[in-house]
Structures are given as C-alpha cells and as structure tokens.
C-alpha cells in the first residue's frame, strides 16, 4: 500500500553510499525538491549503523532536507528475489504457501533472512497468479533500520530499490546500482520475471567495460523466461554515472537489444515517487506480510459479544444519566413545592375566600349610580312616567314605563341608547295602558356598567 504523505524522502542504500531525494506530490504529479549522494566513510558504513545514522542526520541537515518520513531502498546486491506462482487464496493460505517455498528455496539460510512478498494480478482464466518473493539478510535489514533511526528518520518502508525504480514501466527494466543490475520483466504492472547480474559501471568511459556490462546483461536477459527483450528495455542508470557514459552505454545497448530507453535518474527519487504512487504495493521488509497475524486471545464471537456489551453499556449508561437528570429535576421541583405547599394552600384558601366575599365589600353593586344614570336619561319633555324599576344585584334591570304616545316612548328609548353605561337595551312589547287611556305601556330591559366610559360618578 502506498503512503499518503505529500512529501517523502527516498534513501537508496548501497554498501558504499546512500542516494537521497526529497520528493513532493501535488495535484499535478511529483516534483524532486532536492537530491544528494552521501558517500560512506570507512568508519561510518552500514556495519556501524549508529555512526552512519549520525552522519546521515548531519547530511540531511546540511542539505536542507525538511521531511524525515523516509522510504529506504536496498540495492540489488543485497536482495534475493524469486518469482512464484500461487493459486488464489486468502492471506493465511498464501502465507503458508510462501513459507513452505522459502524453506525449500533457502535451505539453511532462511532463518537469517527477512522476507516479504507481493502478489500480482491473477488473470481471469488462470488457476494461479504471480507472486514476487524478496529476501534480505536480517543483519543488513537490522543495520539499515538502526541507521535510519539514528538519523531520526521515520521509516515508511524498507524495500528493494529495483521494484520501486521499475514503477509503471512495461517491458524489461534494468536498474544498475553499485555494480549490480536488477532485471525485471514487467507486463501490465505485473512482474513476470526477475534476475540480477554483475554490472561494473565504475569505468563506463572504457568501451571494454561497457562491453562487459552489456554482455553480462545480455546473458542475464537470455536466461530469464521469455529469453528476449520484446517490449523494449528501460535502462535506469544513477546520476552518479556521467551523462556521456550513460548515453554511450545506452546507444550500444540499443545495438544489442533493439529498443532501449535510457532513464538517467536518481534511484532515490524513483523510489520515493513509486512509494507515493496511489494503488501501488510495496515489498516491505520492515512490515512483512509473512509475519504471523496478531491473533486475539478472544474468539470472534466473544469479541462481538464484548462489543455488544460495550454498546449496551454506553446506551444504558446514557439512558441512566438522562433518567437521573430528569428525575432529579422533577424531585427538586417536588421538594421545593412541598416546602411551600402548606403556606401556598393556606394563601390560596384566603385568596379564594376574599374573592368570594369581595361582592359584599369593595365590589358592591353601584345601584345608586344606576339610578342616577336612569334619571339623567329620563326625558325632560313629553308625557312619560316610570311605573316600576327593578334592579338586581348584578345591575341587570328593567324599567316599566307608560308614555302618552309612541313618539315619547321612542324618544326615551333613544335617549337611553345614547348612554354609555346603559348597555344591552331592549324594549319589550308595547301594550295599551287600558281603560279609556290612550297611553301605552312598555318595558325596557338594560344592564348597567359603572366602569363604562361616561358613567355618572
């Protein structure tokens, strides 16, 4: 699995030097921010990891490297590789198959080595798929880890440089580093074959030296399954080799292999770019897939039961907390009410009694006000008399009148209606007064409201 870091330090280690590159990834791609090569001194080689780490730390500081998250690449000289075929299976089964093959292929030395593998894609109609197995001596791995830690690096992965340098390329990829060429045949991102051979690049300015390198390489390629370079050859040479020498070697390689692409680049930069490429798997000696999985002492069923219990406890605990909160508030209110309820009940009774008695005290019916208002509305002219006035305590009343004629009656009725404190005025049926009289009798009902506007004080 690739790292999701936006900046990564690639460090490719060889027995004599370390190649470094700080690479940044953004939306457009990757950019090499800085690069350098650190040649080991006799007293600070990989066999003295503490000193090497200190020297590396100084080198990083001096060259302005910002990040300390690093992927370490081990040169082809240190890494043994095998290409295997395995059937589709789960991780446990694959682990078992690979361990058996390690015991078979590396008899006597397996215990001193660290291994990891990378599965390729299994074709749909195939019964098995490719698996790349890589191994490195434990001592080398340990020294690399110690040196990196001493340099203050945070290791993302320790991986063979060759695979990382191959990247997305197809065809035959050759990475030459520290006198060894790692050769991969890659097709559609899957390693189909791999090998390594000597490649002394110390004197590439010499045509004989170039000839020897190409001969060794040619022999190596021919011995690989497939035997030839079909899709072209990519030759990756580090920048420590002079550009002219690199181009000359590539030109002569073209004569032997046909199509040759020269990549004169820093293996460390290629390593970091590959580690940051999304969806790319890495061989990780430091986090091997062959390490036995950490098995829980608890069975899955027990784990599920524990999870369910935790969830139930959380839900129950939350529910209990909410319940306590709600009931506490209710109880507090109840306690406060209990403390004052006796006094409140007594006061409620007194208040109720006072309201009942108010009609006999300060809310007495204004009978006199009503009489005065009736008197005020009584017509000053016309023949009309009041025969009976009935007034009840709630100031609802009726006045029985007799008038000489209807005009006089109407005038009185109208006058009453003009009063703002005589309300709901209704005139009852009109009857002749009786006998020889031409007078008419009529009742007028009303309600007196002393608070209405204009009431006689």
């Amino acid at each position: 699995m690739s790292t999701n870091r936006s900046t990564l330090l690639g460090v490719t280690l060889t027995p004599t030097s370390a190649d470094l590159a700080e690479v940044r990834r953004d939306g457009k791609g990757t950019q090499v921010l800085r690069r350098s090569t650190m040649v080991f001194t006799p007293d600070s080689g990989l066999d003295q990891p503490a000193k090497l780490g200190a020297a590396l730390s100084d080198h990083l500081e001096a060259n302005g490297y910002a990040t300390r998250h690093a992927v370490l690449g081990l040169c082809p000289r240190w890494v043994l590789t095998r290409l295997k075929k395995v059937p589709p299976a789960d991780a446990d089964a694959i682990r078992g198959i690979v361990n058996l093959q390690i015991e078979r292929d590396f008899v006597g030395s397996a215990s001193d080595m660290a291994f990891d593998y990378l599965l390729g894609d299994t074709p749909p109609d195939a019964t098995d798929g490719p698996l790349v197995l890589a191994g490195v001596r434990e001592a080398v791995l340990s020294q690399a880890q110690q040196a990196a830690q001493a340099a203050g690096l945070r290791i993302e992965a320790i991986t063979p440089t060759t695979f990382a340098a191959a990247g997305n390329r197809s065809g035959t990829v050759v990475l030459v580093e520290d006198g060894v060429a790692g050769v991969l045949r890659v097709s559609a991102g899957t390693v189909e074959a791999l090998a390594s051979c000597q490649a002394d690049t110390a004197s590439l300015h010499d045509s004989a030296a170039r000839g020897r390198v190409l001969s060794d390489l040619s022999r190596c390629v021919m011995q690989m399954p497939g035997g030839s370079v079909d899709e072209g050859l990519t030759l990756i040479l580090p920048t420590t080799i002079a550009e002219a020498d690199a181009h000359q070697l590539a030109a002569e390689a073209k004569e032997r292999f046909g199509s040759v692409e020269l990549k004169h680049a820093d293996p460390a930069a290629l390593l970091a770019e590959h580690a940051m490429a999304p969806g790319k798997g890495l061989i990780r000696f430091n986090e091997s897939r062959l390490a036995p999985p950490k098995r829980s002492k608890v069975s899955p069923r027990t784990m599920w039961a524990l999870r369910a219990a935790v969830v139930a406890l959380l839900v129950g605990g939350t529910g209990l907390y909410l319940w306590n909160d709600a009931t506490s508030r209710r109880d507090a209110l109840q306690a406060e009410l209990d403390a004052i309820s006796n006094t409140a009940d007594e006061l409620a009774t007194i208040q109720s009694d006072a309201q009942l008695a108010a009609g006999w005290y300060d809310k007495r019916p204004p009978a006199l006000d009503c009489l005065l208002e009736l008197t005020r509305t009584f017509p000053k002219q016309g023949e009309i008399r009041v025969e009976t006035l009935t007034l009840r305590g709630e100031m609802i009343g009726q006045i029985d009148c007799a008038a000489a004629d209807r005009e006089t009656m109407d005038a009185y009725f109208t006058q009453m209606q003009r009063s703002e404190s005589l309300l709901k005025i209704n005139r009852g049926p009109v009857r002749p007064s009786g006998g020889n009289s031409t007078w008419i009798d009529f009742p007028i009902a009303f309600r007196f409201d002393a608070k209405a506007k204009g009431a006689t004080p």
């Binding site: 409140a344 006072a354 006999w360 007034l391």
Partner: protein, 179 residues
C-alpha cells in the same frame, strides 16, 4: 440444518424483525413512556410551583386584604350577623325618613362547598325618591359586608309622589368551624 443462502437471509431478516419488534415493545416503548411521564410530571410541577411561588410572593398583600375584610365587620355566627344587619337596616330606614317599615326576618342560605353563609333580608316601605337614595347610599357604604340583591321601585300606586320600595339585601358570615 442446511439452509440455502436465501433461506438463511430470510431467517436473519425474520429474526432481526422479531428482535426489533420485541425490543421496541418491551424495552424502548416502556422506557420512552417513563421518560414522557417524568417530563409530564415535571411540567405540572413547574406550573404548580409557579402558582405557589406567586401566592407566597404576594402573601403580605393577600393576608392584608383578608385582615381588612375581617376587621370590616365579618361576623362569625348567624346570631351576630343577624343582629348587626337587621338592626342597621331599620336604623338606616328610619334615618332616611321612612315611616312604615316592614323588614323580613333574615333568611339564611348556605352552601356546603363555600366557607360563608348568607342571610337575606327584604325591606319594604314607602317614601320619596330622595329617601330611596339615602337608604341605598347607606347600604352602599355599610361598614360590614352587605350588598343589594334586588331593588324594586314602584311608582304607580303611590300618593303625593310617594313610591313603594322593595329592597332585598344580603350579608355574609363565616361558618363556625365544627370541632
């Protein structure tokens, strides 16, 4: 028991549905109902407490009003209320100038739900409108609990502008607390 994938899926769905229904019916619903009840109780208590606090905050005013009523002639027995009211009515009618005064005996009315009883009187007399005003004014400003229930002024049969008055009034007295 060998079940097909479909059967096992159906079995799981049924089991989960039944389990969910059981959980809802016997656990979740009762718990929610209990919470609702507590919320309801709390709301009612808040209202009760607000009413109680309002009463307690106004304690001085409430007691003062009632003390005023008690001091303003609220009798604690039928006898004292009757003596107070009947005597006052006769005195006022005489002071107003009425000659022939007919005062009924006090008629007591009581409601078990209420802390007071009433005594009602009807005074009948004949006189002038001014005399009626004077009597009504006395009722209005009486120094003990008294109110007019009904007033009938009949002007038809009176001579010399005399009118007939029928005045019904009532007074209150506090029921004796049975020990």
């Amino acid at each position: 028991m060998n079940m097909t994938k479909r059967e096992s899926t159906l079995a799981v769905i049924i089991a989960v549905s039944l389990g969910g229904w059981a959980l809802l019916t016997w656990v979740i619903d009762p718990v929610l109902a209990a919470f609702d009840q507590v919320d309801q109780d709390t709301m009612e208590l808040e209202q009760d407490l607000l009413a109680a606090r309002t009463l307690v905050d106004n304690e001085l005013k409430i007691r003062k009003r009632w003390t005023g009523y008690e001091k303003a002639g609220l009798s604690r027995s039928l006898e004292s209320a009757d003596a107070q009211t009947g005597g006052a009515l006769l005195t006022w009618a005489e002071d107003a100038g009425f000659k022939q005064i007919n005062l009924s005996d006090g008629k007591a009315r009581s409601d078990d739900e209420l802390p007071f009883s009433e005594i009602q009187y009807t005074l009948q007399t004949e006189g002038s409108l001014k005399q009626v005003y004077d009597l009504l004014w006395s009722v209005r400003v009486a120094p003990f609990p008294l109110k007019m229930d009904k007033c009938v002024i009949d002007l038809r049969n009176g001579e010399d502008e005399q009118l007939q008055l029928s005045l019904t009034v009532s007074t209150l007295f506090r029921k004796e607390i049975e020990e």
